[in-house]
């Protein structure tokens, strides 16, 4: 590019600057001339208007940094030049001094621009609404409803910088607002108890064999009744249908009429008609609440009529660290040998159960398909398990054996069924349920809204103008006040058509009232006038009367009614059998009407002074308490006024106290002070320096939404009120306390969901034809492993290198099978030493991570590479240029992914990014879509004769075995952009571990984005580096990183 052209561009830019002076910052000054010269000398050869390499024309890139697009581009330029990536090695390099000067100038420009934006916004973050995860846990804590589910009723949240916590992505539409109204209503209603009295806690216990689902399993030959360790007497099996004439439609059924100690289930799925599995179905909760469930289970091997000790094993008999296939001496692929099938005819053998250790089958308990837990059933050792669960009326818990085959005893008409069957089984002894467990009444959720007083006891405002009946007194209700049909006639009120006359009376105390109606009728037809005394819309008990009294002999009719809380009550009289006798001319015999001469209401005596409970709080003090917690800060009377006004208006309209309060609470839950995080300390003062420190209450919320995903508790709010929270010793102690609190599990879960993208675990389902061994237990175990690993890093403050590599891993039996590690029995995760030679350890080789970075059929090194870059190295990806075809793996095996990628990278436009993205992905090629180790690819389609294939055994409960075609060998080698080579994942891992600072830097960045809800700006980099430096002594322990993040200026300022 010519010099004159260059000047021209800048001249044009200057022109623009004049036109748009307010947004165009700092026209080029002296320092910029230096930049111009540098760019011209070192960059413009490629990045000019003619060449535009990498789609970048630096000579035309505007320097109005205030435009976020341009700012981002210049930051990219900075990074490339700083890292030495640019100018490329083969080109003339700038002197270190020139490079430094250029970077310094650019730094100054970028920092200045960001500083100006900072001043305008009052800080790098902005207030943001809660995301739906935070919303749910906040309501749980606020209302005392630990299992409240409202998340699904809110729209999915947007995401920025990889997290759903960033202000810019958390928009509010009217749809969102409407959903907030609905969700708040639903949540509040769940918090209010419907039961009047404290429910009784009961214990239910029954033998498993008595349950309907178990009896049905026995009837279909999916289970056998046991007496001790032998078949219980009383089992009759019979053939249904006629095998001779209708072979296809006959089957063997069973009836059991004896006594059984337990029942052994032989299959994972109890037939298509019983997807609910085994249930404790004779137990039906009638009251919602917590229940303690206990049950006893053990494993065995069923041998026709008796139980033998279970033999270990699932399906897979693996060679170490690889799937159950190997190359034989002839170099062919073979599955690990299975024993010869036993010769007995008609018997269906399930592949099972090798290995030396004690067998343990696994039972899953679930509620409406949601797993509650996985439980061990040791061989011949009945084990009692216990868990606590919230059950709604009628809900039933299901039990499934995860390690049994999907079909067992063959029960066709010509078969013996269970008594001819040999195979693995799980015995259930009994089930027990205790509940509802009530530790206080009214329950906590009710207390949060209405205190300890029953809702009914709250007084309601008296109705102005209505008569009041005081305790122990009788009030005469003015007849003229009665509204409804009919009218006054002299001193009497008469009712000449069917309908209800009503009036309102203020009842001064709660209790039992009496209404006395003195009335007579004008008689017509063959019955007396009938009336019903009403309270509200309801009849009073024993309130129906025949008014068998005529003028001059009026009678008094009395009925009682209950008033739950002092306040206005509407009472009335209903006339139900109006009648006109057209045959009678005499007007006194013609029309049946009711005349009232007097209506009185008598109030109960005042309760004795000592029986009067402490005066319940009024609506204002209840609201104040609630708002203070919901707004996470002190609330002034003036602020409360609009909410109190809503409640008052509702009550004036006659709404019940409870309903009126709920309207007020709902308003609080829809207010910006509740929904927006960052308003807790009022509007932060604008500071000339830009960075305004958070107020104490805002700091408390930032802390609690960071580590608990929810509102601060009383301790944090107290510290905020005392203005001591911001002291560094206090903060440190609080972080320790918060991480030790069970609420921190929300941080572990949500942070890993977002950071490691574990929330994508269900985006794709592994193709059952390719991965028959994938099952729900594996799915759940994967997530558990990753969360437990992060939890361990946090509690034990393990160094950042353990993200990549570690000596021990946390696995259970199912993961051990997948990872090819022996001698791990049971559903619980436990610490296991990584065997020598195994590639496991660290997040990169966890099944969950390997699954979320793949689709259901194939892996893409590009996608996995991008994941490693963004999640582990913290390098944002550049969007692919348009008009470039993407690289997608080919499940048919026609072209290897490596060939495709190499072709792709031959294109210079792709190469610069792919040189960074692809290598980590290539290293992870040794792992399939469910995280299993592989040295050959699995391919779709049936293997032709002579083609390599492998037999995979579906995880018992869900799939059977399948033969799968194998493709080419996996090559996990690669080369980093800077030329360093690696042979496999271990090699790549070693390269990653060379720069622990980079790993720590990434964790610090991710934590800061997560905790503050804003991206990392160019000018935040020094603060990040400081965190990295301060954690160096602990090898960048993860808990140290959390502490330093909290201690940092980025965290403590707006």
């Amino acid at each position: 590019m010519m010099k004159s052209q260059m000047r021209n561009t800048f001249l044009q830019l200057a022109g623009v600057a004049l036109l748009f002076a307010p947004i165009f910052q700092a026209p080029l000054c002296a320092a910029d001339k230096g930049m111009t010269a540098f760019i011209q000398q070192h960059c413009a050869d490629c990045h000019d208007a003619d060449n535009k390499k990498g789609n970048l024309d630096l000579t035309a890139l505007p320097t109005d940094f205030a435009n976020p697009d341009h700012l981002a581009k210049w930051v990219q330029v900075f990074d490339r030049i700083e890292s030495g990536e640019m100018p490329p090695k083969k080109k003339v390099q700038p002197t270190p001094a020139a490079r430094k000067a250029f970077l310094a100038t650019l730094t100054k420009q970028l920092t200045a621009t960001e500083g100006r934006a900072l001043t305008a916004d009052g800080g790098r973050t902005s207030v943001r609404r809660m995301n739906r995860v935070e919303y749910e846990s906040t309501l749980r804590d606020l209302l005392g409803l630990p299992l409240l589910r409202v998340q699904e009723s809110l729209p999915e949240d947007g995401q920025q910088f990889g997290f759903d916590k960033v202000a810019g992505a958390l928009d509010i539409s009217h749809v969102q607002m409407t959903k907030y109204l609905q969700a708040a209503d639903a949540a509040l209603r769940q918090a209010v108890v419907k039961a009047v009295a404290r429910p009784e806690t009961k214990i239910w216990r029954e033998p498993a064999a008595k349950q309907d689902t178990m009896r049905s399993a026995i009837a279909t030959h999916n289970a056998v009744p046991l007496a001790g360790r032998a078949l219980a007497t009383g089992l009759k099996t019979h053939v249904v249908g006629n095998p001779a004439s209708d072979y296809g439609n006959t089957y063997r059924g069973a009836t059991f009429s004896g006594e059984a100690d337990s029942a052994a289930v032989l299959t994972g799925v109890i037939g298509a008609h019983q997807p609910e599995g085994i249930q404790m179905d004779h137990f039906r909760p009638t009251v919602a609440g917590w229940y303690r469930v206990r049950f006893s289970i053990w494993s065995l091997r069923w041998e026709r009529t008796k139980a033998l000790p279970a033999v270990r094993g699932l399906v897979r008999n693996f060679t170490a660290f690889s799937p159950p296939y190997f190359k034989n001496d002839a170099g062919q692929w073979e599955f690990t040998r299975l024993p010869e099938p036993k010769p007995e005819a008609g018997r269906m053998e399930n592949v099972e159960f090798y290995g030396a250790t004690k067998a343990t089958h696994i039972i899953r308990a679930s509620l409406k398909g949601v797993p509650l837990g996985y439980f061990d059933a040791p061989s011949f050792q009945p084990k009692t398990h216990e868990f606590k669960v919230w059950l709604n009326p009628g809900e039933r818990i299901s039990f499934h054996a995860m390690t049994l085959p999907s079909s067992a005893a063959h029960n066709s008409g010509v078969n013996d069924g269970v008594v001819g069957y040999e195979g693995p089984a799980v015995a259930y002894d009994w089930f027990e349920a205790e509940g509802p467990l009530v530790d206080q009444w009214p329950p906590e959720s009710q207390r949060r809204l209405f205190g300890a007083t029953p809702v009914a006891a709250y007084p309601r405002p008296m109705l102005a103008g209505a008569p009041t009946v005081e305790a122990g007194a009788t009030a005469k209700l003015p007849l003229a006040d009665f509204k409804g049909p009919g009218q006054m006639l002299g001193e009497e009120r008469y009712l000449n058509v069917n309908g209800t006359v009503t009036t309102t009376v203020n009842c001064a105390v709660p209790g039992e009232y009496e209404m006395a109606v003195t009335a007579f009728e004008t008689h017509a037809g063959n019955e007396a006038a009938k009336m019903t005394l009403m309270v509200g819309d309801n009849e009073m008990p024993h309130g129906r009367f025949s008014v068998d009294a005529l003028r001059g002999a009026a009678k008094t009719f009395r009925a009682k009614f209950r008033v739950e809380s002092a306040g206005p009550v509407t009472v009335g009289v209903q006339f139900v059998n109006d009648f006109i006798d057209e045959t009678k001319a005499n007007p006194f015999e013609h029309d049946r009407n009711i005349y009232f001469t007097k209506i009185e209401v008598t109030a109960p005596k005042p309760p004795p002074a000592d029986a009067v409970a402490a005066k319940p709080a009024d609506h204002r003090s209840l609201l104040l308490g609630f708002a203070t917690r919901a707004f996470r800060r002190p609330v002034t009377g003036g602020e409360l006024a609009p909410y109190a006004a809503i409640v008052a208006a509702e009550m004036e309209r006659g709404t019940k106290f409870e309903e009126a309060m709920l309207a007020g609470y709902k308003a609080i839950l829809c207010s910006p002070d509740f929904l927006f995080i960052g308003l807790e300390s009022g509007v932060p003062p604008r500071s000339a320096k830009g960075l305004a420190r958070l107020g104490d209450h805002a700091l408390a919320s930032r802390l609690s939404y960071f580590l608990w995903n929810s509102m601060p508790d009383a301790t944090l709010l107290d510290l905020a009120a005392q203005r001591t929270l911001a002291q560094s010793a206090t903060l440190k102690a609080q972080v320790e306390r918060m991480l030790a609190d069970p609420r921190s599990e929300r941080f572990v879960e949500h942070f890993t969901d977002e950071w490691l993208e574990l929330k994508k675990i269900d985006f794709t389902t592994p193709d059952p034809a390719l991965y028959p061994e994938f099952d729900p237990w594996l799915h759940d175990s994967m997530l558990e492993e990753s969360r437990a690993t992060f939890r361990r890093l946090l509690t034990q403050n393990r160094g950042v290198r353990e993200l990549i590599s570690s000596d021990t891993i946390l696995i259970n039996q199912r993961l051990a099978e997948l990872y090819g590690i022996r001698d791990v029995n049971g559903a619980e995760l436990r610490e296991v030493k990584v065997p020598a030679g195994s590639p496991r350890g660290g997040f990169l080789t966890q099944a969950s991570v390997l699954k979320v970075t793949a689709n259901g059929t194939a892996t893409s090194p590009v996608l996995r590479g991008v994941w490693v870059m963004e999640r582990i190295l913290g390098l944002p990806r550049q969007p692919p240029p348009s008009n470039i075809p993407a690289v997608e793996p080919d499940a048919t095996g026609a072209v290897t992914i490596r060939q495709m990628i190499e072709k792709h990278r031959a294109d210079a436009a792709c190469a610069s990014c792919h040189a960074k993205m692809d290598p980590p992905g290539m290293a992870l090629e040794s792992f399939d879509v469910i995280g299993g180790y592989r040295d050959r690819y699995r391919l779709a389609g049936n293997a032709k004769k002579g083609e390599p294939s492998v037999e995979i055994f579906g995880s018992g409960a869900w799939q059977n075995r399948a033969r799968i075609r194998l493709g080419s060998d996996v090559d996990a080698s690669g080369e980093l952009a800077d030329g360093q080579k690696f042979a496999d994942l271990n090699g790549y891992r070693a390269l990653l571990l060379k720069d622990e600072d980079a790993l720590a830097r990434n964790v610090a960045r991710q934590l800061i984005i997560y905790a503050t809800g804003a991206g990392i700006r160019f000018s935040d980099r020094n603060a990040i580096e400081a965190i990295v430096a301060k954690t160096k002594a602990s090898q960048h322990g993860i808990r140290s990183l959390v502490h330093e993040v909290v201690a940092s200026e980025l965290f403590q300022t707006k």
Partner: protein
């Protein structure tokens, strides 16, 4: 032929029920079945975007004008040949960013996916601001997806309006009526809701005055949403008292896979139109992750869209796209078979079908595949524009708005109305 309704209603009944503030929905039932109509029939619009492109080779006719030869995809629509126009060489000016352009298919906002991007109002919402009050639901954003509520609809401040993905839920909201008591209760709730919103809006207004720029933007969104909900609750209160339309259809089940999901959404759109529950629908077909239940398809749709010219993939992709066109054809057929006054529903319903990607294989946002069916235009042609210098698709949007009866000469990046497309 199906007639929308049979028993004529008196206009007065409606007037009384609706109250003076509301304009009248023009149901066929209000008109004598075979007489002259006293007022214009309602005009409707459904905008459908399939998010991974449409294979150009099976879509665009080779020649422009009326006598083009049908391509494999257009073959599925051959019964309606005279009732749709196919466009080529159009796109939304300034819109790039590959998949990010899903958000701008109906807004035309430039540069999605960049740091400075801000979305703008979508076609349906623009129309809803003027005609939305005439129906129970102003506009109905729908989505067919594996997960999430992504939507084609955006408010004036560029906030996405989450789309409904459960046909059953929408059906219940539109057609399942409560009893009188629950209606009154609902009205009461709506009133309470309004007083709640009043209180919180006042609070937000106070805050807005005090905060800095970035915070103000967040609170503005909140404030606007609150006011919008209030306005809607007011309208909803009127609608709540009106009987919900009765339909002779069971509550649909929420299906799991693409073909069934598409069919359910089209059924729902049909019901919503015939009952005049709404006149504006958007439907985002987010294909990612689908492969099940589609004849001749076994690979994930996103993977297929990057076909890298491989024959087996192209074949599967064609099957995937044909399956979608067949569902569209079935929908058009139902509209056409439904009489409304002296015309049929298709003549009064603009059906826009297209994609934000011109080429799914390489993320190109130029040369968008677009069809406009029905709505009362002189159709039957292929309007071909320059493939290098695309014609603004936003011009079509202006034409569509005008066809709805809106007096507007501009929408988003438009430069006029769609050249060559005339009203019938």
């Amino acid at each position: 032929m199906t007639h929308i309704a049979t028993a004529p209603l008196s206009r007065r009944t409606f007037l009384r029920a609706a109250g003076a503030t509301l304009a009248l929905p023009f149901l066929d039932a209000m008109r004598p079945a075979f007489g002259q109509t006293t007022a214009a029939a309602p005009r409707r619009m459904i905008s459908i975007c399939t998010n991974l492109g449409v294979l150009e080779r099976h879509f665009y006719p080779a020649t422009a004008g009326h006598d083009y030869a049908l391509t494999p995809y257009l073959e599925t629509l051959k019964d309606f040949r005279e009732h749709f126009t196919v466009f080529s060489g159009t796109s939304l000016p300034g819109v790039g960013g590959g998949h990010s352009a899903e958000a701008t298919f109906l807004t035309g906002a430039p540069h999605p996916g960049t740091a400075s991007f801000r979305n703008s109002i979508s076609l349906d919402q623009f129309a809803a601001e003027q005609i939305g009050h005439q129906t129970r639901v102003a506009a109905l954003p729908l989505v067919v997806s594996k997960s999430g509520n992504q939507s084609l609809s955006f408010t004036g401040s560029g906030v996405m309006l989450p789309a409904e993905r459960s046909p059953a839920e929408v059906f219940k909201a539109l057609f399942i009526a409560g009893d009188a008591a629950s209606v009154e209760k609902q009205v009461e709730n709506l009133r309470t809701g309004r007083s709640i919103l009043d209180a919180v809006a006042a609070r937000a207004a106070t805050l807005q005055k005090q905060v800095g720029a970035a915070d103000r933007e967040r609170l503005d969104q909140y404030f606007t949403s609150v006011r919008e909900v209030e306005r809607r609750l007011l309208i909803a209160e009127e609608w709540e008292r009106k009987p919900k339309p009765k339909v002779d259809v069971a509550v649909p089940k929420d299906p799991e896979y693409l073909p069934e999901k598409l069919a359910a959404m089209y059924d729902l759109a049909y019901l919503a139109f015939t009952t005049d529950s709404t006149r504006l629908i958007t439907l985002l077909v987010k294909l990612d992750g689908f492969s099940e239940h589609i004849p001749g398809v076994s690979t994930d749709a996103h993977n297929l869209s990057h076909h890298v010219e491989r024959e087996d993939k192209l074949k599967e992709l064609m099957n995937l796209e044909l399956a979608q066109f067949q569902k569209l054809a079935a929908f058009l057929k139902r509209l056409q078979a439904t009489a409304e006054g002296d015309a049929n529903l298709l003549d009064r319903t603009q059906v826009l079908y297209g994609s934000n990607l011109g080429n799914g294989n390489n993320h190109d946002n130029k040369n968008l595949p677009v069809i406009l069916a029905g709505g009362g235009f002189k159709h039957g042609q292929h309007l071909a524009f320059d493939k290098t210098n695309n014609y603004p698709l936003s011009n079509l949007y202006v034409t569509m708005l005008q066809r709805l009866g809106l007096e507007t000469g501009k929408f988003s990046s438009s430069t006029g109305t769609m050249r060559g497309l005339e009203m019938a």
